[in-house]
């Protein structure tokens, strides 16, 4: 017997944090202006130590002010989607569950668009207006997961296949409504919106939105992490978990709200980036096992690494033009989804 210890957990997270740091540096390097890796690493450490004045190079400022915010956004979005996917998979007892497949991302996108449409009609202060989109996205996500959960039940039990179908059908229904709403937009807005729907990290965020995004991520991930050992037991079913001492309704409520918040925030700032919440938890489970006390933090790091890499590729493969990051993740994720589906049916 080798139960999980705190030092083992820290070691794994430390290794992944180091990998993430390296990936962020590589991501900073790629772009129109060429910079050296060594100088970047040094600059990044200076930024982390809040010593902005000592940053050596003039291009450093371009890199730090323009590329870094986008990469940090990719970190938070990737971690959010991956943690949301991990918890949906455990709670719904479905290895194919993730925010995108369950339609939660589409619900969040619809909520965000409705908020955007409603925005001009509401006389709100500018700082609050910026928060309306994340709020709409969260409500959209929460409403969708509630509906999909009830549609996916049969005789009081979650049915894997029914749930997945309910999610896919909801996603396409919601996408149709989104398309309908988009016809009311003008040409330039339409292109921007279409790009956003595919998953796009290029928009620069207002200060207030950044704060909400960061705080929301920490609170929601923390809330999910407190249920980590409950989620381990939920893998063998809600009834069994209850007999082993899990307060199932409470865990369900906490995880649904927190995962909807993570999805809503991620979608409101980056659109619907697919497959991260599906692919990353499985890879991490293969490496680190299915104990959620270690899976949740490693999935967060893994999601961050995956989206930073995907965004870097999306920025560079067709440079100077760029692809939506969602297209990149779908290119890698769709084949894996099919592989898992086949293996499960075999």
């Amino acid at each position: 017997m080798r139960p999980l210890t705190f030092s083992r957990l820290l070691l794994r997270c430390g290794i992944l944090a180091a990998i993430l740091f390296a990936v962020v540096i590589v991501a900073l390097k790629f772009g129109a202006v060429r910079v050296s890796l060594y100088g970047l690493g040094l600059d990044l450490i200076h930024v982390m130590l809040r010593q902005n004045s000592v940053i050596s190079s003039e291009y450093g400022m371009i890199v730090i002010d323009i590329r870094l915010p986008r990469i940090l956004l990719a970190v938070v979005v990737g971690a959010s989607l991956s943690v949301a996917g991990t918890s949906f998979q455990a709670l719904l007892r479905n290895p194919l569950a993730d925010p995108y497949v369950l339609g939660v991302s589409s619900g969040a996108a619809l909520g965000a668009i409705l908020a955007l449409i409603a925005e001009p009609h509401l006389a709100l202060s500018p700082s609050f207006t910026a928060l309306l989109t994340p709020l709409g996205a969260f409500l959209g996500a929460a409403a969708t997961i509630t509906v999909v959960y009830f549609l996916g039940r049969r005789e009081g039990q979650i049915d894997s296949g029914t749930l997945l179908l309910a999610g896919i059908v909801s996603a396409s229904f919601l996408s149709a409504i989104i398309m309908f709403l988009m016809t009311t937009l003008t040409g330039r807005d339409f292109r921007g919106m279409a790009f956003w729907l595919m998953g796009d990290l290029s928009t620069s965020l207002q200060e207030s939105v950044r704060w909400v995004l960061g705080a929301g991520f920490i609170i929601a991930t923390g809330a999910i992490y407190t249920t980590a050992s409950d989620l381990n037991l939920l893998l063998s079913g809600e009834k069994e978990a209850m007999h082993l001492g899990v307060d199932v309704p409470r865990v369900r409520l906490v995880v649904y709200i927190a995962a909807s918040l993570l999805t809503g925030l991620a979608v409101s700032v980056s659109g619907a980036i697919g497959y991260v919440g599906l692919l990353v938890p499985h890879v991490m489970r293969l490496i680190f096992g299915s104990d959620h006390r270690i899976l949740i933090p490693t999935a967060a790091f893994g999601g961050a690494i995956a989206v930073v890499l995907a965004d870097t590729l999306a920025r560079t493969v067709v440079a100077p033009s760029e692809l939506p990051v969602g297209a990149m993740t779908a290119l890698a994720g769709a084949p894996l989804f099919l592989y898992l589906l086949r293996r499960r049916l075999a």
């Binding site: 139960p3 407190t226 050992s229 893998l235 063998s236 007999h243």
Partner: protein, 287 residues
């Protein structure tokens, strides 16, 4: 009176007290239940008032044909369902009112074999039984590991510790599941058709283990089963259910009456006393 004598008197009084109040551990008092598709419709299934009592170390078997309410009665005992009327007491506490955590420290349930979403090793599975004793993120202590190891040893499954749960046989799996229940250190051990997918050798192994554990650890065991002969051999008390009604409660010899069993199971049977002094049932096909 010197202090040693005082202590002896105190000890005597406390054991007297525990014998008076602690003798009956599980008390099922007139519990009933009704399932219905929606509240306005007539119930699809009702469980009528059932009563029985069980002491520490005792094995109670709940018998009856399909759809007679065996599993429902077990869920009511476990506190997973709230009775429509009546109550289930475990050491004087209503089982349904306990918090999930406290309930899991007192009652362990072994259900019909469940499929795991992602495979885990046997020792991880057994350690799950310690969940109710830890806080949300608490890492397992040396005590937890010791208890889990003992639980595996008690069911003779130490050698399975490092095996994957999806790569061991049905009988081995059932023993690991039982070990998880033991690591909960319960007062009451509930089993829902534990012998369902086991061959006869594995069935006897499991029930021998149960009888030994009930005696050693002073568990009260309630087991739902279809196996009339195994129940007769191993149970101290039998509850015979038919369409939600308990027809008879008592030691196997008093419940196993040919006419009664024939009427309940709708098939011709013969009942005789076996060499162990317990009744034995055989089917009489084609008569």
């Amino acid at each position: 009176m010197n202090s040693a004598a005082q202590a002896r008197t105190a000890w005597h009084n406390s054991t007297e007290a525990s014998r008076a109040t602690g003798e009956v551990r599980l008390s099922v008092e007139q519990v009933s239940y009704a399932y219905s598709a929606n509240p306005t419709q007539a119930p699809l299934f009702t469980l009528e008032a059932n009563s029985f009592q069980a002491r520490p170390g005792e094995i109670v078997a709940i018998l009856g044909p399909n759809a007679s309410g065996k599993s429902t009665l077990l869920k009511l005992i476990a506190g997973a369902l709230e009775p429509l009327s009546g109550r289930v007491l475990l050491n004087g506490f209503v089982t349904h009112s306990l918090s999930p955590r406290i309930r899991a420290q007192r009652i362990a349930m072994v259900q019909q074999e469940s499929r795991l979403l992602f495979p885990s090793r046997a020792w991880e599975f057994v350690l799950q039984g310690r969940h109710a004793y830890g806080r949300a993120l608490r890492f397992e202590t040396a005590d937890d590991v010791l208890i889990a190891k003992n639980a595996l040893a008690q069911v003779g499954a130490e050698h399975l510790s490092d095996r994957w749960m999806d790569q061991i046989s049905g009988g081995e799996k059932q023993r690991v599941i039982l070990a998880r229940a033991l690591s909960q250190q319960p007062l009451l051990l509930l089993l829902d058709e534990p012998t369902l997918h086991l061959d006869i050798g594995a069935q006897v192994d499991l029930l021998d283990a149960l009888r030994r554990l009930a005696a050693e650890n002073r568990y009260t065991v309630v087991v739902v089963t279809h196996e009339l002969n195994l129940a007769a051999e191993y149970a101290d008390q039998v509850v015979l259910l038919q369409r939600g009604k308990s027809l008879r409660v008592g030691p196997p010899a008093s419940v196993y009456q040919r006419e009664l069993l024939e009427q309940v199971f709708q098939t011709p049977l013969s009942v005789e006393l076996g060499s162990s002094g317990r009744p034995r049932v055989s089917v009489l096909p084609g008569t």
